[in-house]
């Protein structure tokens, strides 16, 4: 290859950026994505899968003990009645935001680079929402009446309170989970058909064929399909913004100093995108290596994601500052005390972990070297997710642990069951993700193919056309569009 990956990256504004490296033809994209699923299970996959299932079984034990014994097994007590449970909920639901952002918002803005990562990010979203849904489900204590959260006719003649943000949350998160699943599945149909058509065994043919619904790739089908995809993207965009806004209202609508603030909705949404991109990065760094997809998920994609993390991380940092300013400017002594207590009280250690992970460390992404260095990106993605977990911990626990009267002050310490639930939720997440990469095409081939230059029947504007002589050395002779006008 004449140009290196770094050289291509150095010239992003000279017309159409090259999103997919090695100038592949359509068939090699199919192969690159489908072969890892068809090969014998690699050892590397087991190395991730077995520890994940081990963690998942910890979740099983922890949740069973919780159901048996009650939420007293957690470190919760007066005055801290919400801590790791809700922290984990907000943490996971936040991670679940990047998938829809990548698939819906970047789709509406015609950011074609999303095609390489959107499938995995959407899958990640669904698994993160599953992890998130566990916590409000189990933290209610009497889980056998958890169905009271839904407006179901019952013999008591009672209904849930629709004027409460906690109920808005039930609707927001369950609708978000459903719509994310639909969006992901619609995107999967053509690729499931691809797996069906490649299948060598009858079992595979039936399994993929069943879920491919008999897709024939016909233009009359694509016609409605593209319309549906566009509409779903347009629906998911306000939805994704609404979900974390509503999650933030769980706090903002209360009258507690530290929670009762109007900046919460945008601040939570920015934080959600920030942490979600970090998790996408963690997963994609591993996956592209394990499944040899370096030419499809390129450094350019990481470069773009790092820029988004720099922006959203700085927005989060700005929100931290605004909160402090507002607390001081409001003249409310309780509000100002809460914030001084956050930065200098017993939980100051957590506050400063949050600030250093979320605000200070992402500033390395001002440098292109950092944005295109896999080790730095990987380490940063983990630091950011630690920081974002601590953000939710700081918001929830420090606002609660010192009540209005000093007689009602306390200090929350997690028990081993708090830790087990958090670790266990990671087990669930990684188990699901391992199963996903093993059985489902993790790159949306029908979308990646559309960003190849030869996919455009009208010819490619810009420097792509000039480089077609160079490109046609590699493919199977059908690469550059001929007679393009």
């Amino acid at each position: 290859m004449a140009q290196t990956e770094a050289e291509l990256l150095d010239n992003p504004v000279a017309g159409h950026p090259t999103l997919i490296l090695r100038s592949p033809d359509f068939h090699s994209i199919t192969d690159a994505v489908a072969e890892p699923i068809e090969r014998k299970t690699p050892i590397g996959w087991w190395l991730f899968f077995i520890p994940s299932v081990a963690l998942l079984s910890i979740l099983g034990v922890a949740v069973s003990w919780l159901f048996w014994e009650g939420i007293g097994i957690w470190g919760l007590n007066v005055p801290v009645g919400w801590s790791w449970d809700i922290t984990n909920f907000v943490f996971w639901i936040g991670i679940g935001h990047a998938g829809t952002l990548i698939s819906a918002i970047l789709f509406l803005f015609r950011q074609t680079w999303r095609t390489s990562i959107n499938r995995a990010a959407e899958a990640m979203t669904i698994f993160a929402v599953m992890c998130a849904l566990i916590f409000p489900g189990i933290h209610v204590g009497r889980v056998w009446v958890a169905y009271w959260m839904f407006p179901l006719p019952n013999q008591m003649g009672t209904w849930p309170n629709f004027r409460s943000p906690l109920l808005w949350d039930v609707f927001a998160v369950s609708v978000y989970g459903t719509v994310s699943l639909l969006f992901w599945y619609v995107g999967l149909i053509p690729d499931l058909a691809m797996m069906r058509d490649r299948a060598k065994t009858r079992a595979r043919k039936l399994a993929y064929g069943f879920f491919a619904l008999g897709w024939r790739g016909s233009q009359r089908q694509w016609h409605h399909y593209e319309s549906a995809y566009l509409v779903l993207a347009a629906l998911a965009t306000p939805l994704v913004l609404s979900v974390h806004s509503i999650v933030s209202m769980d706090f903002a609508v209360s009258v507690l100093p530290g929670w009762h603030t109007t900046i919460f909705p945008p601040y939570f949404v920015a934080g959600a995108i920030f942490s979600g991109f970090a998790m996408v990065l963690t997963l994609m760094v591993i996956c592209r290596k394990v499944f040899r997809l370096e030419h499809i998920v390129t450094l350019r994609h990481f470069d773009y994601m790092a820029k988004i993390m720099l922006v959203t991380g700085s927005m989060v940092g700005f929100a931290y500052g605004t909160e402090f300013f507002t607390a001081w400017y409001s003249g409310n002594p309780y509000e100002f005390f809460t914030f001084l207590n956050r930065a200098g009280g017993p939980y100051a250690w957590a506050y400063w972990i949050m600030v250093s992970c979320n605000v200070i460390s992402p500033q390395v992404f001002w440098f292109k070297k950092a944005r295109t260095s896999i080790p730095i990106l990987f380490v940063m993605s983990i630091i950011i997710n630690i920081g974002m977990w601590f953000e939710r911990f700081v918001i929830i626990t420090t606002s609660l642990h010192r009540d209005f009267l000093p007689s009602a002050w306390g200090y929350f310490t997690p028990t081993m069951w708090d830790v087990a639930c958090l670790l266990g939720s990671f087990g669930l997440f990684f188990t699901m993700f391992c199963l996903f990469v093993r059985f489902v095409p993790m790159v949306a081939t029908s979308e990646v193919k559309t960003v190849l230059p030869q996919a455009n029947p009208h010819g490619q504007p810009g420097p792509e056309r000039e480089s077609k002589v160079h490109r046609s050395d590699h493919g199977r002779g059908e690469l550059a569009p001929e007679g393009a006008s």
Binding site: F162, F171, V175, D197, R220, L235, Q454
Partner: protein, 186 residues
């Protein structure tokens, strides 16, 4: 009602399947097939080819109207449910809020609107596309297996008024088809 119309041609032949090498070839061939006045035909591609709907002369998809209808239904249902619960079925004073506190009802109204609209988009799309449909004469063709990989096809069905087993095949060959195949009905 499109759902009541039979979906496959009767008779021994399903139609003709022609393979094209590139999206560009397919695009221009579609323009010619459209201009020749065929109505019961289709193009098959591994990915949505930009502008191919226009090259085939397809009308706009009615799907957005289904979605709009479903979305408004969902939102109305959500709003009426909340009004009914709090203002009529179980009027309880909670934190001093009015029974019919409509601003507090917007989030759930919005969420249910989005939920119904999304269901309308997905199931409306499947309905318009007549999916699931796991058996189809096209799947009998060996080359058609590559339709989800890297092959581009035009299929013209035998019940098209202009269909003729030899002349239509010749037309497709003259448009640059790599191979032309006559498919039997199931």
């Amino acid at each position: 009602m499109p759902f009541l119309v039979p979906q496959l041609p009767k008779g021994p032949n399903y139609g003709i399947l022609a393979e094209f090498a590139t999206p560009t070839d397919l695009y221009h061939a579609c323009e010619r097939v459209r201009d020749a006045g065929f109505t019961r035909w289709d193009a098959h591609t591994p990915f949505p080819v930009h502008g191919l709907s226009r090259a085939m002369g397809l009308r706009r998809s009615p799907l957005p109207w289904i979605v709009l209808g479903m979305g408004l239904t969902g939102a109305a249902l959500g709003f009426v449910l909340q009004w009914w619960v709090h203002a009529t079925a179980q009027p309880l004073v909670i934190s001093g809020k009015p029974f019919f506190a409509w601003p507090a009802m917007i989030p759930v109204t919005f969420e249910l609107g989005v939920l119904f609209a999304a269901l309308g988009a997905v199931f409306g799309m499947l309905g318009l596309n007549r999916l699931p449909m796991h058996h189809h004469p096209l799947f009998r063709s060996k080359v058609f297996e590559r339709v989800t990989d890297d092959a581009f096809f035009i299929s013209i069905e035998s019940w098209d008024p202009r269909f003729d087993p030899t002349a239509t095949g010749k037309l497709l060959e003259s448009l640059g088809a790599r191979s032309v195949e006559l498919l039997e009905s199931e």
